[in-house]
Amino acid sequence: MLRLALVDAYSDTSVDTVQALRRLRGVTCTAVVHADADIRQQSADELQTVYQSASLADLLSKHADEFDAVIIHGSVASRAKQARQAASTGKNVLLAGPPAINRDELQSVSEACRAADVRLMIASALRCRPSIAALKAALDSGKLGLPGLLRCHAWYPQTAGEDDFSWMSAMRLLELAVWIFGKSPTELFATTNQFSHDAAWPDYIQLHLGFPDHGMALLSSATTLPGTAAYETVSLIGSTGAAYADDHAQQQLLLRSQSTAAVQSGERIPTLVAQLREFQHRVTERRDPPGEIKLSFAAFDLLAAARQSLAEKQPIRLGK
């Protein structure tokens, strides 16, 4: 049995985790960590956990024997520190992406996990999403031929995040692009739009990538949607075929007396199940896929190139 501690997750993540755990054998959640007592209690109730703490350090000091691994959510700025803490006490680490605020922080996590001989998995909600996984499977099977044009939109509500959220979102898209093409781009051109003058980071980031063998990608990250719903969509044109995740966000119609609304048939639970199942297998089999951490490092490098492109207002040629 793999026993998990859920760290700094919001209550909706806890609800989803309950649903995901019901679909898995050999995985359970035994502890929750959150600084906010109400959220912590709510999560503990949802997950029916026995152990809870206000901080990971506290949980590790008091109940270290009650869990084998941590799932770290919370602010990106705190993830690396918590991952190192967990690794140093022999806990396997499932780190929500983006895993850290910069390359060096991620490097330190990687080294800590290697030194402790624990597994480190960087969770990608995009890679594990059923529609995107199906797209990648079609590509890997050769049905789509060579990847030609990847287009991704990731648009979020204005309240979605912390500082630099749009860059962090862009990083997830860059990681996805490298994963799909199976290689790093050779060219990058970035454009942004910023009109929320109280924010120091862009409202919108547009990334244009060129890959070897004529591949190309258009990625857009926005943090300006009203309401609470996010919009993420992906399509891939290959040399012999194409795959389109639904551009209309898997919406269904809700017809009511006063208005018609669109409601989403989500992929959240299957995405989380896929993540947890993969993590369980890695821990059980004691394996770390070598390419995964490289994806995150590549994304950090591309993020730096994007900032350079913005400053220079020109495309950046990247190392081969």
């Binding site: 244009h208 300006t224 919009y231 044109i237 551009d247």
Partner: protein, 374 residues
């Protein structure tokens, strides 16, 4: 957006000539179908090759009108008000200029030209002769009208970013990699002549044209209509990914373009002739707009209906567009522009700007640099 049809128009108001009907003949048919226009003659130059004469003659016969091998004489003798120009792209502007010089209004097929200098000549002729010019477009498709109305009514606030997916899934000759060693490169014009059979010969002409040149006007015209902004700088990646003819003639069948516009608006375009295997219908065409107060994702194909049946031919589209009045509405709009001396939906200056944007994107695809729209 256009109003409903002019109910007073119980007889044709304008006499029209089809000035070269080389490509698929949707433009000339659209002119002929509108009640305010009467197509009375087909015209072309006497020196054009025999295959062009043959196509012109066939269209004339089908419409029971004469074919005159002298453009100027046809426009004068038949008292023509409107020329519908649908020749090879490299002759578009020249034919339109000659019509303008005779005081004839012009509806011209896309692309506007393969050369920006030709667009400049046309602008001069249209403005000097005070005639109306409409570059054919898809801006009055139901979904595009809807998107425009939503934006103009302020539903998503001021648009700040636009993305268009514009993929046509028709094949364009043999697939890339099919040419055997020792075989000569495919001839562009011959390929286009063959493609005429299924109406996918939009790039007909001696000069090879990639998808950016052939179809780029459509999504770029969407963007100008949706944002009201002009293109300033572009960065593009281009490739011949799918078709041997495109590879042999060094033109794109897949491209991505980053767009920087006036007013700080930015955008991207994904465009390609991606092959019939890559989509069950005519292609994936989507409009995505981010505004300061919301966003819009529009499927250009809607409204549509799905039709499936036993024995359905493999290449027959399963989903068919319905309630598409683009042809009628464009001609209706053009008639009103003439009547009211108003501007047209896609005039020569905007067409020129779009042509310059396409040319800048093609240059960028080759240079790897950001190019200024000149």
């Amino acid at each position: 957006m256009p109003d409903s049809a002019n109910l007073q128009a119980d007889r044709p108001a304008y006499r029209a000539a089809a000035v070269s009907v080389v490509k698929h003949d949707y433009l000339a048919k659209a002119v002929a179908a509108h009640p305010q226009f009467e197509l009375v003659v087909v015209a072309d130059d006497p020196t054009v090759p025999d295959w062009i004469h043959a196509r012109n003659q066939l269209f004339a016969d089908q419409n029971r009108i004469p074919y005159i091998r002298d453009v100027e004489r046809a426009l004068r003798d038949y008292d023509i008000d409107v020329a519908a120009v649908s020749s090879e792209a490299e002759r578009h502007c020249d034919l339109s200029i000659r019509a303008a010089n005779l005081g004839v209004h012009i509806v011209q097929d896309k692309p506007m030209s393969t050369r920006v200098s030709e667009c400049d000549r046309l602008i001069e002729a249209v403005e000097r002769n005070d005639v109306k010019f409409l570059l054919w477009n898809r801006n009055l498709l139901p979904a595009v009208i809807h998107a425009t109305e939503l934006i103009r009514s302020g539903e998503i606030g001021e648009p700040y970013a636009v993305h268009i997916d514009f993929y046509f899934s028709k094949d364009a000759g043999p697939p890339k990699g099919s040419r055997r060693p020792g075989e000569p490169p495919l001839n562009w014009l011959e390929l286009q002549k063959i493609a005429h059979a299924d109406g996918s010969d939009g790039g007909v002409g001696v000069e090879p044209m990639g998808e950016l040149r052939v179809e780029g006007i459509y999504p770029l015209a969407y963007i100008t209509q949706l944002t009201g902004q002009a293109f300033e700088r572009v960065f593009a990646r281009t490739a011949a990914m799918f078709h041997q003819g495109h590879a042999d003639n060094d033109v794109d069948d897949l491209a991505t373009v980053s767009l920087e516009m006036t007013g700080g608006v930015v955008g991207t375009l994904a465009i390609g002739r991606i092959g019939a295997a890559s989509h069950p219908d005519i292609g994936e065409i989507k409009i995505s707009v981010l505004g300061r107060d919301g966003a819009l994702v529009v499927a250009e194909a809607r409204p549509e209906v799905g039709v499936y049946y036993r024995g359905q031919p493999e290449k027959e589209f399963r989903h068919r567009r319905v309630a598409n009045e683009n042809d009628f509405l464009l001609m209706d709009h053009f008639a009103r522009a003439i009547e009211t001396n108003g501007d047209t939906l896609l005039n020569a200056r905007t067409g020129r700007m779009i042509t310059a944007t396409v040319e800048a994107a093609i240059r960028s695809g080759k240079s790897g640099s950001v190019e200024v729209v000149e």
